[in-house]
């Protein structure tokens, strides 16, 4: 026991600086293989490269079979672009980085398929929870302290005995997990007690003078009495998302070295994946601009910070995200997916030039909400600023829709030649031309909205309110901001009074809440 704990202590020392070989390790594509002591070989391969490998094919069939039987949470994405293959004698393992939609900061997971020389195999997940993760630029790696959890895919694979697995260690300034760039490597195997989800701490806890049955120096193939099937798995957090981004943005002078470093940090992986997913097969100039804006929003450097809705290409400013009520209303509005939302804010989705940024902030002209298109010709961004969030969900949603319509009109007008005839949606240009010597653009947009957007706003709010009342009950919201611009006398006094009464009924009974 004393001997074993002493060995564990040695292992702990080795792993104080365990580093995770991350994306940068693939920067030099010529280095894809690392020979390590004990005759083990690590190779980094793609799915395509392994697709004709019988062992890999058998491994994937095993995985598919197990995943069908699996009762655990298998809602994750497997990175097939960087697969680490470790071969030791006749034992071969394949390790993949896997990613879930809801990634927890500091936690990452690897899927491991271990094939033994005896012909048996097993599949499982290693979940790494980091207490400390520090990036070392000079060696493109990260030191790691934390916890590793063994999660079998099926109960049949659940280990009840001690199991061991092996890490290729690199000695370069400090000790860390070897990556392809390391030229001085050797193997370290360590063992933990198995079960439904075995855990091991890095560095291991315990008395360095204690004893243990496990033998961390046994190497990949080394088995102990309690660990007849040691597994070998390198840490894999690699994916080509980084390359996808840098390949696309490298030509942009706005893409900085600091941003590259930021992308490489594992804590930013989910953001990197989001940006890479957005740029996938779409590296247009407009997409690059949006990706750079997204980087600026996500890097949390105190300047223009926030989140990014890549699906809708909307930048959600930090000021917006920190207002829980406003964020809640927006999420409900987006989830309701009304035709108006799709036709206004949603129209920016496929626009190659213009994007929306939603903020909580001050409007110079009112205390409610505003659509600021002052930078539309320079950055292509239209800012929707919501100032008053004291109203009901329907009030705030109405303001978002109202300003979204202004944004859409600004987008439309910019794309057209102002004041010239067009075949599509000519009415707004007709009104601009007619009223331009009297009113400002925003005023004329309000006149246009009285003609075309009362029913769409009311219908969108009705849908948001789960169709609780007829559409007229939501028209008072729709007329907010437009009553004074009713050039066509579309709203009679009686209707206005009725709609006001209806609104009170809706507000008194709606189940919508964000408080």
């Amino acid at each position: 026991m004393k001997k074993s704990i002493k060995k564990l202590y040695k292992l702990g020392l080795l792993l104080i600086g365990v580093s995770l070989t991350l994306v940068n390790c693939q920067k030099d594509d010529s280095i894809t293989e690392t020979a390590i002591e004990n005759k083990a070989i690590i190779k980094i391969k793609t799915f395509e490269e392994l697709s004709n490998n019988p062992t890999f094919i058998r491994s994937m069939e095993l995985y598919k079979g197990e995943i069908k039987k699996s009762k655990s949470n298998n809602d994750y994405e497997i990175d097939y672009t960087k697969i680490k293959e470790i071969t030791y004698e006749n034992n071969v393992s394949y390790t993949f980085a896997i990613y879930r939609d809801e990634n927890t900061e500091g936690v990452f997971e690897n899927l491991v398929i271990q094939n033994y020389a005896s012909g048996s195999s097993e599949t499982f997940i290693l979940k790494y929870t980091t207490d400390e993760l520090v990036y070392f630029n000079e060696h493109d790696s990260h030191s790691f302290k934390g916890n590793i959890e063994y999660i079998p895919l099926t109960e049949a694979n659940m280990r009840t005995e001690v199991f061991c697995y092996t890490i290729a260690v690199c000695d370069y300034d400090y000790l860390h997990v070897a990556g392809p760039k390391c030229s001085n490597t050797w193997n370290e195997t360590f063992c933990v007690t198995g079960g439904g989800g075995a855990n091991s701490n890095f560095p291991p806890d315990g008395n360095p003078e204690g004893d243990s049955d496990s033998d961390p120096n046994s190497g990949i193939g080394g088995s102990t009495v309690n660990s007849p099937k040691p597994i070998s798995s390198p840490v894999v957090t690699t994916i080509n998302y980084y390359e996808r981004i840098t390949d696309c943005l490298s030509s942009s002078s706005s893409f900085t070295g600091e941003q590259e470093l930021w992308l490489q940090h594992p804590y930013n992986f989910s953001h990197m994946r989001g940006i890479a997913g957005y740029l996938n097969d779409n590296c247009s100039e407009a997409s690059q601009e949006f990706a750079l804006l997204a980087l600026e929003a996500l890097d949390n450097d105190g300047i223009d910070d926030g989140e990014v809705d890549f699906e809708n290409e909307i930048i959600l400013d930090e000021s917006f995200l920190t207002d829980e009520k406003l964020k809640c209303v927006y999420d409900k509005l987006k989830a309701s997916n009304s035709n108006l939302f799709k036709a206004t804010i949603g129209n920016f989705v496929n626009d190659p030039k213009l994007k929306i940024r939603i903020k909580k902030g001050n409007c110079v002209n009112t205390n409610d909400a505003c659509c600021d298109d002052s930078e539309i010709t320079t950055t292509g961004i239209v800012n929707l600023i919501i100032e008053d969030t004291t109203g009901s969900v329907l009030d705030i949603a109405s303001s978002i829709l109202h300003e979204g319509i202004h944004a859409e009109i600004s987008r439309y007008v910019l794309l057209q030649a102002p004041y010239e005839d067009v075949n599509d949606r000519p009415r707004i240009l007709e009104l601009y031309k007619y009223y331009k010597d009297l009113y400002n653009e925003g005023d004329i947009e309000h006149i246009y909205m009285t003609e075309h957007y009362i029913n769409p706003i009311a219908s969108a709010l009705r849908k948001l309110d789960s169709f609780s009342y007829p559409v007229d009950y939501y028209k008072s919201y729709a007329w907010d901001g437009l009553r004074k611009w009713d050039a066509g006398e579309l709203l009679s006094m009686t209707e206005n009074e009725n709609y006001t009464d209806y609104k009170q009924i809706v507000e008194a009974n709606t189940s919508l809440s964000c408080d």
Binding site: N362, C363, V364, N365, T366, N367, D368, A369, C370, C371, D372, D373, S374, E375, T377, T378, T379, S399, H402, E403, H406, D421, P426, R427, L429, E430, L431, K433, Y434, Y435, K436, D437, L438, Y439, N440, E441, G442, D443, E445, H446, I447, E451, D480, G481, L482, R483, K484, W485, D486, A487, G488, E489
Partner: protein, 190 residues
């Protein structure tokens, strides 16, 4: 001593001259951005060459309006101002504009005769009630002149109710001692 008196009088005269110029610029801006509502009937669909007649505009300009003027002064600055000429800024360039802690001098704002402007401090403006008594709320920026004082930029914000206001950047030029609005650029709408 005599020199001090003369200098003082000269400075006062200069100051008066400057305020006169400000008055003229502000008058044009105020008369442009403040218009009565509801608007006159729109053109029929398809009447895409019609423009509102000058007679209607003149008539509307005679409608008396009671305006609350916020004493808060707007300020603005341009990004990349070294790269842009004075006139280019009206069309291009990112403009940052914001309310300041500075207070507008009351006597600078008049507008056309049909307008009655009343100054309020920001604290005194009850937004939920002020539209019951006033037709709109006006804010203006200080005026930016070029070195020759014959070109000017100024921002005005005018609101007539909830979700119903504009922020507009005006570019004006002075020719033959007469200021004219050359171009407007909408910055924001509510």
């Amino acid at each position: 001593m005599r020199l001090i008196y003369v200098s003082t009088i000269f400075l006062i005269l200069l100051s008066c001259k400057s305020k006169n110029m400000d008055n003229k610029v502000y008058d044009l801006v105020i008369n442009s951005i403040i218009q009565p509502t509801p608007p006159p009937p729109p053109p029929k669909i398809g009447e895409n060459n019609r423009k509102i007649s000058q007679g209607i505009i003149d008539s509307l300009n005679n409608v008396p309006l009671k305006i609350a003027v916020s004493s808060v002064l707007i300020d603005f600055e341009f990004k990349n101002k070294q790269e842009l000429s004075f006139i280019d800024r009206i069309n291009n360039g990112k403009i940052e504009y914001y309310s300041t802690n500075k207070v507008l001098a009351n006597r600078l704002l008049f507008g056309r005769n049909s307008l009655s402007l009343e100054m309020f401090s920001e604290e005194d403006i009850n937004v939920s009630k002020i539209y019951d008594d006033y037709d709109g709320i006006l804010k203006v920026s200080k005026i930016r002149y070029n070195d020759n004082k014959d070109k000017a930029l100024v921002i005005a914000a005018y609101s007539v109710g909830k979700l119903s206001g504009n922020v507009v950047l005006f570019y004006l030029e002075k020719k033959n001692n007469h200021w004219t609005i050359i171009k407007k650029r909408n910055l924001s709408v509510s």
